[in-house]
Symmetry: C2
Subunit: 340 residues, 2 copies
């Protein structure tokens, strides 16, 4: 079908349309600069459950229900669910989606999962494998800290390079053969593992920036465009440290991204007021920023075309404690305004 572009990209013949999007976040995210844009702010970080993991599952379930309701969609019309989270064995997703009764492709791309979920979802819809699918990703500050770093009660210090895992879940419904919707997915560029030897679990931005750089460059090369083809190039959660590295790498390639680039992790919190150091992180960070902030701006035409690049660091407490590095991965999604 001639949809392969270059080495790692696809240009969709029938760009799938995002017909509904929703976000559910925690209290801290609700207090941040994007607070008024989220659909639901849950003040109880336990979401009424007995433990953090069940809280994250409940957040996924709430988000899925919300997106279905907002879009006026019948649950039975969602043919596939592409979803993931940060936890071992995807327990937030496993337990969060069981009641949906939708065939599930479980994904793990660390914080790049929303990019992977959008990519595979769009591939399925464009190919005619489904009329409607849902793509979803979540993270929770407490489940992530417990799993990856220190128990919260330990109260360890955080260096300035550390990011703050977003408590949030974002989901969209993609549909085929439609012209009405929030935005369309024109293409994707799938990233590969990039290991530059980063070893600091308190500096994920440095671990992910090379992967973001690689995927963005691959996208520009595959689509034979330059960076100004996009109104915004939006990474997931590089934070301040990662952004600096990305801009430096890009500068060495002769590209000035200082105005074009935005990072979801730097938008979601107020660094000065919220003590979040380098920014927000987690799969939920890019997912909720997409659903609450980016998609409406594409829908109203403020941005005609953006490159959405969720970034993941393959941190694991097991490999980390064994002295391994932290490889990164980033998946890019070309999101376009729909001319009415």
């Amino acid at each position: 079908m001639g949809q392969m572009k270059g080495k790692a990209s696809i240009e969709f013949e029938h760009p799938p349309v995002i017909i509904s999007a929703g976000s559910v976040v925690g209290k801290k995210e609700g207090e941040g600069p994007l607070g008024s844009l989220f659909d639901e702010i849950e003040l109880d970080d336990m979401f009424g459950m007995d433990n953090w993991e069940q809280a994250e599952s409940t957040m996924q379930k709430k988000t899925a229900d919300l997106v279905i309701e907002k879009g006026g969609i019948r649950k039975g019309d969602l043919r596939y669910l592409f979803a993931g989270d940060l936890l071992g064995q995807l327990i937030a997703t496993s337990f969060g989606t069981v009641d949906l009764e939708i065939p599930l492709f479980g994904l793990y791309g660390a914080c790049s999962t929303m990019g992977e979920a959008l990519g595979l979802g769009a591939m399925a819809v464009n190919a005619g494998y489904a009329d409607q699918v849902m793509s979803m990703a979540s993270s929770h500050f407490a489940t992530a800290e417990k799993q990856f770093r220190f128990p919260l009660a330990y109260g360890n210090q955080r260096p300035p390079s550390a990011t703050w895992t977003v408590t949030g879940c974002g989901a969209v419904v993609l549909a085929g053969n439609r012209k009405d919707g929030m935005a369309r997915i024109a293409g994707i560029t799938t990233g590969r593992m990039v290991d530059m030897g980063a070893k600091d679990s308190m500096n994920m931005g440095a671990a992910m920036a090379p992967a973001a750089f690689h995927t963005i460059e691959q996208n520009l090369e595959d689509f034979q465009v330059n960076e100004t083809w996009y109104d915004k190039i939006i990474t997931g959660d590089l934070g301040e440290v990662g952004r600096t590295i990305l801009l430096e790498f890009m500068k060495n390639k002769g590209r000035d991204l200082s105005q074009l680039h935005m990072d979801c992790g730097m938008e979601i919190y107020d660094k000065e007021q919220q003590d979040t150091h380098a920014g927000g992180s987690g799969c939920g960070c890019s997912a909720v920023t997409l659903c609450s902030y980016i998609l409406p701006k594409v829908q109203d035409g403020t941005w005609k075309r953006v490159l959405f690049v969720p970034t993941g660091a393959l941190l694991s407490s097991v490999s980390f404690n064994e002295g391994q590095s932290i490889p990164g991965i980033a998946h890019a999604v070309v999101i376009e305004h729909i001319d009415s």
Copy 2:
């Protein structure tokens, strides 16, 4: 394109062909009934590395290289890699595939991962998103026991319902627009999470059997066939306990699967000689049995059409210790003989 079948299935218009397959296993698997069929048996369970996780990564890398070599494939022609393992944050895959430099879709479906990887790989090839992709899954006895149950050194007892995690990695290369190859993928049925409340981490067969039943029934319904359309219906790692439950469920539906059904977990070890109780398990179990035993039998026409149904139990030590149940999932792949 009219490829959607029923509620959860796809019938491929241009069935992708499996052009290469390979398996690398550990010593115990090499001593089992399928021993002579595996491509490589590694006698050192550490695969020459310093820890179990690196051993599993090395096993993935060896398998990928082997499949590329066996198929006379150029690494650069593999457009996407669909891969996963059982470990938190997919560390076996993350570190095992970084040198391949192939765009990666990281998957988590517990022991059903090979079904998920084959399904998404076939979807990509059939749609023209790639000429060639690799689908791969692995597990390692020592990394799995360490993560899910008890430290090996603890030497805990195992009830008869327990399975033994296979040390093994299986991978295939799928290609489009080809008639020569080992077998073709005619269709898939994607499973959903099924939670029947099983809570015994030493009885994964019982946790997975309902999911296997659900996916097989869905497949028969979606394709409007009965069970005898297949020469074999092959589950991943139900083991003896799970098989008994599946056959009972099927009997209640009026289907006799006693002769048609085979379980990879029951084929891979000699129960009497190898002290493996209910059978083998792990993503590697169905993956290596597929590559070494099933595909050759489909290729030579012994079996004209099989339904390959890797089964996964979403066990996690975190959710398990929090008293949660163990939901299951199963993904089915219709694999057919190619008439020459």
